[in-house]
Every structure is written in C-alpha cells, then in structure tokens.
C-alpha cells in the first residue's frame, strides 16, 4: 500500500469559500448603509433558496448532502447574485435567479467543480433577459436620495410590491450612470454636460463608488490570504482601463474617462469576486491574463456599444466558453522541455 504523501497542509474548500464570504462583508456593510437594509433581506432570501435547491438537487442526484452544503459554494453563488441585482426588487426575482443558477447552471452540470459557467452570472443573465425593466431599475443611494425608504418600507416592497402611499417608484429609482451616459450620448449630449448630473459621484456613480472601494478592500484581503492571485483582477481592470483610456484619448467628449469605468457598474466587484471563480475560469497563469483581459474588453464594448448598461455577465459567460481553449494554449513550459 502506498498512499504518500502522508501530510497535507491546505485550507479546506469550505474555509476558502468562507473567506470569500468574509471578503464580501465590507462591501455588504457599505451597501446596506448607503441603500438601506433591503439588501440584507435579499441576501437571506438568496441564501435560503440556494441551500434549499442545492439540497434537493443533491438528494435527487443521490449525492451526500451534508458535505456539499457545508462547502458554502452555493452560498457564494447566492450572495454574488443578490449583490448583482437591484436592491429593490420583488422577492421572487432573486429566488428565480438563484434557483436557476443552482439547479441549471451548477447541479445539472454535475455540481461543485463541474460547472463550465459562472452560476451567478448565468442567473444574472437569465434575469436580465427575462425581466429587463426590473433589472435596470436601481434606486439612488438612500443617503443621497431625497426620498428615503425605511427598512420596513423596503421589506414591504420586496414582498408585496407596495410602497408607502406618498412615494412613487420613480422617485426612488433612477438610471445608473452607465445607463444615463449611454442614453444621453445618444441624444448628442457631450460628456461635460452629462457628468454634472447628480447621479455622478467623485469618480464613479454616486454611492456605489464607495461600495466598489469596499469590494476592493475585500479583494485585497483575498489576495493577501492567497485565495486569489493578482492575475485576474489586474488583467480585467487593466483591460477596462486600457480600452476606456484609448477611447477617451481619441474623443473625451464622447467617452468617459478610465477611472469612471473602473468605479462604475460591476468593474471592481467582478474583478475580485466574479472572475476569480476558479471552477469556471482558466488555471494557467497566462490563461488567467488572457481570460480576464478578454472579459474586460468585452465588458467595455458592451457598455459603450451594447444594448445593456453593463456587460460583465455576458463577458464572463463568453470567456467561460473559451476556458478549455485558453488552458490548452497557455500550458506553461514543463521543466527541462524546450524553451
């Protein structure tokens, strides 16, 4: 019998996943502070849906339930999707999205380790295509908004779709800067006039730019903990910045500057939490650079020329398709083999 090595020293899958959840907390905290406690309700709903569907699917597939529920991968999918959709959305939206992500995008492919696509992004894409109106209605950050919703108001809206009598939905929500930018540019407005709109913040969207900063801190933690390497975030953000910089240099009146693109939409969030999903991503160092750079370029192109305000989900899914190819062509040189 030969079962060496007899010693191992690796964090378990559970502890890796838990650290990812931990890294999301600063972002969630700033999110809840700026947009109200409604996100917490969405997160709870998402978590419950994820665990329930995962358990049912594991049972149906005759797989052990307990070890796979306690790996927390389903919870990560749930949280990522919950954080990606608008905070004021009816309860069934997140339930449908998470259920689709877990059942179709994860379990039907074989569960943990076998899903070729990022489940959270599949869930997001399905929701965006199916319910485009709800998915693009983002509330202005409450701390800056004139109309404020209490936690109970948000609770009621999520579950019964009812707002307090004197408040209309339009008063609460507004277009996101990326969305606004796109429509205004179509109306032949120049960047100078567009960017004075109140929804613009210091470098990105008012409010959400701080959430992005909190995600950045969480990402730094993951890097420090060696859960992620520098390749994916750097290449992704670098590609967005390079694309934005190029277009901005060509015509600053028609294209937003790179910093705006880095801190708008899901750039930071995606760089540290979406692209870094190891299962659906490439494994070689070079491959990670290509994968993330490709996703960055596509994200930018969808933002500027596409039909949706942000393009992260489509970019990631498209690049997921390319992963086997990328991995195959980016094999590192084996020790002693020709240079």
């Amino acid at each position: 019998m030969n079962r060496s090595p007899y010693i191992t020293n690796a964090p378990s899958v559970s502890s890796i996943m838990l650290k990812v959840l931990l890294a999301l907390l600063p972002g969630i905290f700033v999110y809840a502070w700026l947009y109200g406690g409604g996100i917490l309700i969405t997160l709870v709903l998402a978590t419950a849906t994820a665990l329930a569907t995962e358990a049912i699917m594991l049972k149906l597939r005759r797989r052990p339930v307990q070890p796979f529920l306690s790996d927390y991968s389903a919870v990560i999918t749930a949280w990522l999707l919950a954080l990606a959709i608008p905070p004021l959305a009816p309860w069934w939206l997140i339930v449908v999205g998470v259920a689709f992500a877990i059942i179709i995008a994860k379990q039907l492919y074989g569960g943990l380790g076998y899903n070729p696509f990022n489940p959270a992004m599949v869930g997001y894409a399905v929701l965006l295509i199916s319910f485009p109106v709800i998915m693009t209605k983002w509330p202005a950050a409450l701390s800056f908004a004139e109309t404020k919703l209490s936690f109970m108001d948000q609770f009621n809206y999520i579950f019964s779709h009812a707002l307090p009598a004197n408040i209309s939905m339009d008063a609460v929500t507004s277009a996101t800067p990326l969305d606004y930018l796109k429509t205004q540019l179509k109306l032949n407005q120049s960047m100078d006039t567009i960017q004075v709109a109140p929804i613009f913040g210091v470098f990105g969207a008012k409010g959400s730019e701080f959430v992005a900063l909190a995600y950045l801190a969480g990402g730094a933690f993951l890097w420090q903990q060696r859960i992620i390497t520098w390749h994916l975030p750097t290449a992704f953000l670098g590609a967005i910045a390079a694309m934005a910089g190029l277009f901005w240099m060509i015509d600053p009146s028609q294209f937003a500057n790179p910093v705006f693109h880095l801190f708008s939409g899901a750039s930071i969030f995606a760089a540290f939490f979406i692209l870094t999903d190891p299962i659906s991503g490439p494994t070689t160092p070079k491959g990670k650079l290509y994968f993330a750079a490709g996703a960055g370029v596509i994200t930018y192109l969808v933002r500027v020329y596409g039909g949706y305000p942000d393009g992260v989900a489509f970019a990631v899914i498209f690049m997921n398709i390319c992963v086997p190819l990328i991995d195959m062509y980016t094999q590192p040189r084996v020790f002693g083999h020709k240079k």
Binding site: M1, Y6, T8, V13, P67, L112, T284, V334, F335, H337
Partner: protein, 667 residues
C-alpha cells in the same frame, strides 16, 4: 585579468542558486531525530537479506544453507549488467534461503538469505585499494563486488554510474539536500563523518574525472553546512547552501538549484556532463576502497512515534523490530511504519521486515501524527497544485485525464514528467490523492504498451507460422518430386539404396556442425521476430530454404526470415550440401562414369546459386538495417516488404544461377 572575465565571475556570484518553479515548504520535524549522535545497534538474533535490495537483476546466490560465512563475505554476486552484490553483514551461519516479506510497497514476499550471527563479528580478509593512484578502470570494475547502491533511496547500483562507457563528466553534484521531513541520516553523517565524506567525494571525483564539484545542502542544516565547509577548506569542493524547499533533494531539481541546468525527465544528467551522488553513497565508496569494506550497513533515521528518535548505523538485514527497540520502543498508539519520508515513503507490511540498502528513514506512524485524509471533494480548479508543481505540470488536468482513463491526453500533458513528489497532493484543498491518480495512469499506460507489444509479437509469430506451414507443404511436394527423380536416377545407375543412406548420415552430421557454427557466429545479432524460436527451428527453416534453393525449386513467395544470419546459415548449409554431394559422387563414380560430370556441374551450380543467394540476402539485410531503425507499425510493414523483396530477389538469383549452370552443363 581582463574585464569580461571578472564581470562573468561577478554575475556568476550573484546567482549562487537557481530557484525552481513551485515546491512547498514543509514542517520539518528534523529536530526530533538529530539530537543524539549516530547510535550502534547490538547484533540481532537473525539477519534477513533480501536478494532484491536494488534496482536491477536479482543477484546469484553463492552460498548454501548451513554454510558458515564471515563478515563482508560475498553471499550473492551481481548478475547481468544492472545488479548489485550482497555481503554477509556479520559472521554466522546461513540459516535459510527462502521467501520472506520485503520492505516494498507491494508487500509481497521475495527471496531472502537468512543469517544466524555467531556473535564473533569476524571479518573476512579485506583488500583495500589505492584509489588515489590505482587504475581507474580496475577500481570501477572492482565495484561490481562492492554491493554499493545509491543510498538516497533509489538504490541504483553505483558501479553503473561510474562505468567508463558513460558520457564525459565535468561536474559532480553531491546530494545532501535531504529535503523530506523527519529524515536526518545525511545530516548526522555530515556532522560526524565529514572527513570521510570529503574523501568519498574525492574518490568519486577521481573515478569520474570531474573538475567541478559541489555539494548541495538545504539551509535547515546549519551544523552540517558548517562541518562540511570546514572539511572542504583545502579542496576544490564547493558547499552550496540551497533554500529549504521540497523537493530540492530530487536530483534534477538539485542540479538546477546549483547549476541552473534543466535536465528533462527522459534524459540523464550525465548527458549534460553532470553526475549526482548521494552523500552517503560516496562515503560507502571511500570505505570500500580505503578499507576494503563492502556495503553491509547504512545509517537509518528511526523517528516518528518512538520514545527516543535517533539515527543508527544498521546492518542490512536487521529486522525493523530490533531497530524500533533500540529507539526506546514505539509508543502505544503506533499503527504502522513508514519507510522513507512522509511525502514519498510507503507503508511497511509489518514490523518484521528487514532494513535494506534503500531504507534511509523509518517513521513510526499513528493516526495523530498522520491524520487520515478527509474524503476527497471535487477539484475546484484552484490551481494550487500547478503553483506547487516543481516540474511545471498541470496537475489538475492530469488528474482529470487520469480519472477519466484518458491516458493519451495525460501523456500529451507530460504525465511521465511527473516525479511523484506529492507537492500537489500536499496543497490540494479538496484532499484529492493526486499522486495516486498519476501512479495509476502511469502503470496503466505501461501495461497497455506491454500488451500492445505482446500483441505485435503474437501477430508476427502467427504470420511466421503460416509461412512455415506453407513452406513445409511445398517442401513435401519437392521431396516427392526429388524422390521420383531419385528413383529414376537409381534405375539408370542400377545402384542399391543402402550406400547413399550411410553417406546421407555423414552429410547430415556435417550439415549440423555447419549449422551450429553459423548459429554461434550470428547469435548476438538475432533479429526481433526470430528471437523466440529455438536454434533448431531456425536451422530447420534455413535448411529447408537452402534445400529448395539448391534444387532450383524456389517459389517467388517465400517470406523467410531474411538477414545476414540467415544468409550465413544458408551458405554453410550449401557448403555442407556440397560435401554431401562429394561423398555421393565418390560412391557413384565407380559404377557409372557418365553421371560424374553431370553431378559435378550440378554441384557447382548449386554452390554458385547458394553463394549468390547469400550475397543478395546479405545486401538486403544491410539495406534493411540502414533504411531506418525507428520502430512503429509503419516500420513493421516496411520490414515485411523488404523481406518479401529480398526473398523474391533471392529466388530469382538462384533460378538464374541454376539456369546458367544448366546451360553450361548442356554445352
């Protein structure tokens, strides 16, 4: 001194060691066993010496049960080119030569010589050799009797690494990295016997003719480093302190660390002019030449779950139980023993196994010391394994291919470059026993290759058999024809049958002698597809062939096994045939004079034909040999084609020769 050399020197200095990709930092556990000096063991009641303690052929037993042997006496001698001798570790009586359980991963029993020590420990007469001045070839050849094998764990016979037919060596690297946790036998050896180590290095240097000598030691052994640095002061040996990164002790990794040279897995470092020896091995070389002591003991780390971990000088064949006792006994919760380190070692089948030449360390294991791994989770493609792989493989891909039995793809991803160091398993968050998957895949690939080879051989043999049956059929027809002709001739001559029968016998003997000669001459150059046949069968085939040729009856389709050996046999048989004809000529000459010239001419024609045939065959064989040696399916076909062509040519040549002879005769 001119500037460029200085700059080159400076550059060299700044890059003292070359770090390889990957590797892991392991908890060392070395302090456990290196606190006490190397201990000596009392003589055990019995020594069990497995014949197979090394890589290579099993040595030949030179003693019988009941024989009295002296310490250092050769009891089994090296057999074949890759093998190592076994010596009696102490004086005593051969108690048994039988199968016993070996310290091997398989746990299977194998042949062992058991010695009951007489307690006197009497040495046989020793013959020291002057390794500083003696003839290098003589010294190296004498190592065949030394029983020395690589003591780092691989147990490869050392003599082969020193043989003169190797590539020239300019650099000698002494492996003292000892990168696996727990093991400290080399550490202690360097601390206590540094002077002998230096002499050992000098022996290896002399035998190899190496100019550049470095000894690589991991920086977690400061005492050993200090001892060696002091010991090499007035020599040209460099002590290279390498970082403590597992697996720095892997020969190819160490060569890279100290020289920056990447030796691929399918090549030997000697092709790059570099030879690597374990530090304990060179010491064994020194003791063999200086004192005439063959390999009878080694230093073993006895550590882990024992009361007093320590290094011991252990006679080969000492039962593990005896060693454990010397280390203060195993703690109560000891579950089993591991031979080697915790990264690449293996479970020993029992406490009764003997210590062998490969045993550098024995770890008493318990479930608290080595926790059983949790059930494996699916791979999450985190690529930590790829980051840890010292060969820059993609373990996650190899795992995938091995798991799905996609061995071809696994080989595309360089499965056989894997050194099974276990670094990937060590860092796997999903606790997947990755190395086991690679071992499985490798063994499957090897088994499949073997099966393919066997199938090819079987196919070839079957084709040959069919050809032989066909030939025998033709031969029978020929015989009938010949007999009919013979009857006619006899009628004409009016001779009795008894005389030719006697001469036939004589001729047959001559033919057999010729055959045997030809066989002997060409034995070494046996072709692949005929190696499995007995000499008699081969000769028979050749004889039939030549008979047919001589009779001018060769058909175009005669796929004989064709090469120069065959040609020689044919020629020899033709000679024998001629001789036979001579005899018969004598016997008939008295009765009928008219037949004489006919027989004579006939004979000449036959000889000519045979010689021509042999020449053509030889040329064909030569052509075949030069036309490409790469094996593979294609070549097999080409080979076959060539044989058929040669046969056709041969037949044609023989026919035309016979015709010319006949014409001559008619004229």
């Amino acid at each position: 001194m001119n500037a460029p050399i200085n700059i080159a020197g400076l550059l060299k200095k700044t890059k003292d060691v070359f770090n390889f990709h990957g590797g892991v930092h392991l908890p060392e556990h070395k302090a456990q066993s290196n606190q006490l000096p190397i201990g000596q063991l009392p003589l055990p009641d019995q020594l069990v010496l497995p014949l197979r303690q090394h890589i290579g052929n099993m040595p030949k037993v030179k003693v019988a049960v009941g024989d009295h042997v002296l310490k250092g006496q050769l009891i089994a001698e090296a057999e074949g080119s890759v093998s190592a001798a076994i010596h009696a570790p102490t004086s005593g009586t051969i108690a048994a030569i039988a199968d016993a359980v070996l310290p091997h991963p398989s746990g299977l029993p194998d042949r062992c010589i058991t010695i009951t020590p007489d307690g006197n420990d009497t040495w046989i007469e020793r013959h020291p050799q002057d390794w500083r001045k003696g003839d290098v070839n003589t010294l190296v050849n004498s190592l065949r009797l030394s029983g020395i094998v690589g003591l780092g764990g691989a147990a490869f016979p050392t003599q082969i690494k020193l043989r003169s037919n190797r590539s020239p060596i300019h650099t000698l690297v002494i492996n003292a990295a000892e990168c696996e946790p727990y093991i400290t036998c080399d550490d202690m050896l360097m601390r206590e016997r540094y002077d002998q180590v230096v002499h050992g290095i000098e022996v290896a240097q002399r035998l190899l003719g190496a100019k550049n000598i470095m000894i690589g030691i991991e920086d977690n052994k400061p005492e050993a480093v200090k001892a060696m640095q002091a010991a090499v002061e007035n020599t040209d040996i460099q002590v290279k302190v390498v970082p403590t990164v597992y697996p720095s002790g892997d020969a190819r990794r160490l060569v890279y660390l100290v020289l920056g040279k990447e030796v691929p897995q399918n090549k030997r470092s000697t092709e790059f002019g570099v030879q690597v020896f374990n530090v304990a091995t060179v010491l064994a070389l020194y003791r063999y030449f200086e004192f005439g002591e063959p390999a009878i003991s080694r230093i073993v780390s006895m550590t882990g779950n024992v009361n007093q971990a320590q290094n011991f000088e252990v006679l080969f064949g000492t039962p593990l139980r005896h060693l454990v006792k010397a280390a203060g006994g195993a703690k109560a919760d000891t579950s089993h023993y591991i031979m080697g380190g915790p990264m690449m070692g293996f479970n020993l089948p029992s406490e009764d196994v003997p210590i062998t030449k490969a045993a550098n360390c024995i770890i008493a294991a318990s479930s608290t010391l080595f926790e059983p791994p949790p059930p494996a989770m699916p791979c999450i493609r985190c690529s930590r394994c790829a980051d840890a792989c010292p060969v820059s493989l993609q373990p996650q891909e190899l795992y995938w291919f091995a798991k799905s039995d996609n061995f071809e793809k696994a080989q595309d991803y360089n499965l056989f470059d894997c050194i099974e160091c276990g670094a990937c398993s060590y860092v796997c968050p999903s606790d997947i026993p990755l190395v086991q998957y690679y071992r499985y895949a490798k063994s499957e690939v090897i088994a499949l290759d073997k099966a393919q080879e066997a199938a090819d051989l079987a196919r070839e043999r079957n084709e040959f058999r069919l050809a032989r049956i066909e030939r025998e059929k033709q031969e029978r027809t020929a015989k009938h024809a010949a007999r009919a002709q013979g009857a006619k001739a006899a009628k004409v001559a009016g001779n009795s049958d008894s005389k030719p029968a006697a001469t036939d016998k004589q001729a047959a003997i001559a033919a057999a002698i010729a055959r045997a000669k030809a066989q002997k001459e060409t034995d070494s150059a046996a072709p692949k597809n005929t190696t499995e046949m007995s000499a008699a069968t081969k000769a028979e085939i050749a004889e039939t062939d030549s008979r047919r040729v001589a009779a001018g009856l060769t058909e175009e389709k005669s796929p004989a096994a064709d090469n120069d050996k065959q040609a020689k046999i044919v020629a020899a048989i033709a000679r024998a045939k001629a001789q036979k004809e001579d005899v018969s000529k004598v016997s008939v000459s008295g009765d009928d004079k008219t037949t004489k010239p006919v027989v004579d001419a006939d004979r000449q024609a036959k000889i000519d034909a045979a010689i021509k045939q042999a020449k053509v065959a030889k040329a064909e064989a030569g052509k075949e040999k030069t036309s490409g040696n790469n094996d593979g399916q294609l070549m097999v076909d080409a080979d076959k084609q060539a044989k058929i062509d040669a046969a056709i040519k041969r037949a044609k040549a023989a026919k035309s020769a016979a015709l010319t002879a006949k014409n001559k005769e008619d004229n």
